[in-house]
Amino acid sequence: MNAITRRSFLKTAAVAGSGLVFGANLVRAQQNKDEVLDIALIGFGAQGRVLFESIMKLPNLRFRAICDLRPAQRRYVRLWVKKTLKQDVTEYVDFNEMIAKEHTENVKNGKKGLDGVFIATPDFWHSPMTCACLEAGINVYCEKMMSDTKEGARKMVKAMQKSGKLLQIGHQRKSNPRYIYAREKLIKGAEICGQLTNANGQWNRAVTTDLTCPKKLELPKEVLEKYGYKDMHQFLNWRWYKGLGRGPISDLGAHQMDIFGWFFDARPKSIMASGSVDFYKDKDWYDNVMCIIQYDTFQKRNARVFYQVLTTTSAGGGYFEQFMGTDGAVKMSENPALTKIYKENGADKAKWDSYVANGLIQKSADPAPSKTAIADARESKALDTYAMPDNLFPTDPTDPSKSAPIHLPHVLNFLDSIRGKAKLTCDGAHAFEAEAAVFKAVDAIEAKKELYFEESDFVA
C-alpha cells in the first residue's frame, strides 16, 4: 500500500477548511509521526464496507477486531487486514464480548485498549452499542441515523457527554471539502445566491429487489432472534422495518436534511410531510416521502425547502441539494457531475465576473444555452452555468490518480480528533440537532398536518 502522509492529509483538511483550493497531487512518502490508533469495526454490511475501505487507505492504524453476526463478513475483514497490513484481526459475534476482551480487560491489565470503534450496524443497534463503547471509555464513529428512536439518540448524546469521549456521527458531507467550500465560501461568504429563498433536494432511486442470500449463508434462527430479527429476510432488509430502522426518509433523507440546516445555519421552524407505502406492499416504512420545511436563514429571512425521497423511480434525477436565491443557485451533490452553479439573468454580471476572476468559481464547460424557442413568454431564458474550482476533494491516498473514497475525510476527521489534531465535524449533539427534521418528518406524515419544532427537538 502506498501511504499518503499524515502531513499531506492535514494540509488537505486545513486548506479545505479555510476554503482555499489545493492541488490534486499531494506530496507522498514523507515522514509520518502520527500516533498509531487501535480500532475495531462493528457491522460489515454495505455501509460497514464503505467505512472499512476508507479506513484501510489510512496509515497508522492497528485494526484489532471485527464484530459481525456473519462468519463470511468477519473472514473478509480478517483476510484483507492480514494480507495488506500483516495484522491479526480477532473476530467477534457479540459486541459486549469484543469491548470486554479488546478494551476493558486490557486496560485493567495495563495494556492498550481500543482508541476508536466504528459502528455500522442496523439503526436499532446504534444506541446500545454506542453507549456501551462510550461507557467503556472508547471513542465512537457511528453511522447515521443515530438511532431508530429519538430516545435512543438522546441516550447516545448523554453517554457522550458523561464519558467525555468522542462521538462522531456519519453525516459525512460535514467533512467533505466540496461541501465545506460551498457553504463557507459561496453560500455564506460571498452570498452568491443573493437572498436565499428556497432549497430543493431529492434522493430518487429506481425500484429495487429485496436483498437475499443463499440458504447456506443464512444465520441460525436462534442467532437472528437473539439479535432482534424475525428472520433472514428481515436481517438483510432491516431498513424497511419498524423497530429496526426508519425507512428511506431516514436512510437517505438524513444526509440531505442535515445539509439544509447546515447551509442555512439555522434550525428548521416547521415541517409538513406526506408519505405512504405506494409500491413495496410488504414493507413497514413509507417508500415515497415529500416534505416542506421552513427555516429562518443566517440572512434572517424565511426560506422554504422542498425535499423528496422516492424509491420507486429514479426519474433520471439522482441525488442533490439545491440552494436557490435571488441572484443564483448552488446545486450540490456528492457526485461532482451533478454539482452546478447558476447565475440568475438579472444578477449583477460584474460581480459574477469578479467571482470567476478571483477563482471563487469557474465558468462551466457546459454547452451554451439551447436556442430552442421559448414556448411561453413568461419563461426565464436559460441561465449561465458555473462550477466550483477543481480538485477540492483529496486524492486517494493509495492512488493519487483518482479521488479518495467519499467517506474518507469524515473518517479521517474522527481519527485526527482522537489524536487531538482536529475537532469533530459532526459530534453527537450536533447530529441530534441535525436529525430532528428527519424524526419530525415521520411525525408530520402521521399527524397529517404542519408541525412546529420546539427546543426539545434539538437538545438531548
Binding site: A46, E53, A72, Q73, R75, Y76, L79, W80, K83, T84, A206, T208, T209, L211, T212, C213, P214, K216, L217, L236, G318, Y319, E334, N335, P336, A337, T398, D399, P405, I406
Partner: protein
C-alpha cells in the same frame, strides 16, 4: 461461365456457413442495483448497454459450466472460486467470489482444448461500476507462458504491464459483457485479469460463460 460458378459457389458456402450459426443470447439475471452510485469516470468508457450482436456456431455451448477455477489469490476475501462457473448470475450475497486488491486473475480449465467463439463475463453488478485492466487470454499452457492469445484488453495505460489495450471499459450490469472471439481461438485455459474497479480496489466475479466446442 467459370466466374459465375465461382460466385454461386461462394454464396452457397457463405449461406451454408450462416445457416450453421446462431445469435448468442444470454440468460440474464434480475437487476439488483442497490446503494449510492459512485461516479464512473474513465477515459475509455463505452456507452451503457452496448453488447455486440455475436454469432456463434449452432453447436457451440457454454463449455465453462462446472469447470475448475483457480486464481492468483489463494484465499479469496469472500466466496469460493466455484461460484464463477456454477451457472448462478445473481449479484446477491453469497453468489460471487472476491479477490484481493491489485492486479489479480482467475483461470478456467476447460479440461481439453476447444475452439472458443465468445465469452460472457459478469463481474459484480449490484452497483454500476467499471473494472479496470480487464485482460482476457486463451492458451493451452496453464502457466500462460507460451501460446497465449489475448482476446480482450482494456488496459489503456499499460498499468498491468501486459501491453496497451484498445478495448473499451464497460459499466457492469446484469446483462453481462459479451466478448466476441473472432476468429475463434483454440485453447484449454482461459484467464481473466482485473485490477480493481471504480468503486473499490478488489476484484469480484459472479459468473463466466465460455462459448465453444
Amino acid at each position: 461461365m467459370k466466374k459465375t460458378l465461382l460466385v454461386i459457389l461462394s454464396a452457397t458456402i457463405a449461406l451454408a456457413s450462416y445457416a450453421q450459426t446462431k445469435k448468442l443470447v444470454l440468460e440474464v439475471p434480475q437487476s439488483q442495483l442497490s446503494g449510492t452510485p459512485v461516479p464512473v469516470k474513465l477515459p475509455n468508457l463505452e456507452p451503457k448497454g452496448t453488447n455486440p450482436e455475436v454469432m456463434i456456431p449452432v453447436d457451440a455451448t457454454n463449455i465453462a459450466k462446472g469447470k475448475k477455477v483457480t486464481s492468483s489469490d489463494d484465499f479469496p476475501l469472500i466466496g469460493e472460486l466455484e461460484l464463477v462457473t456454477d451457472g448462478d448470475k445473481d449479484a446477491a450475497e453469497g453468489c460471487y467470489v472476491e479477490l484481493m486488491n491489485g492486479l489479480q486473475w482467475i483461470q478456467i480449465d476447460l479440461e481439453k482444448s476447444a475452439d472458443i467463439y465468445a465469452i460472457a463475463l459478469w463481474h459484480y453488478h449490484s452497483q454500476e461500476r467499471a473494472y479496470k485492466d480487464v485482460i482476457v487470454q486463451i492458451s493451452d499452457d496453464p502457466d500462460f507462458k507460451s501460446g497465449v492469445t489475448t482476446v480482450f484488453n482494456n488496459d489503456d495505460d499499460n498499468s498491468a504491464k501486459m501491453g496497451v489495450g484498445k478495448n473499451m471499459t464497460w459499466v457492469e450490469t446484469n446483462y453481462g459483457k459479451i466478448i466476441e472471439v473472432k476468429p475463434s481461438v483454440k485453447g484449454r485455459y482461459v484467464r481473466f485479469y482485473s485490477n480493481g474497479n471504480t468503486t473499490n480496489d478488489t476484484n469480484a466475479y459472479i459468473e463466466v460463460e465460455i462459448y465453444g466446442k
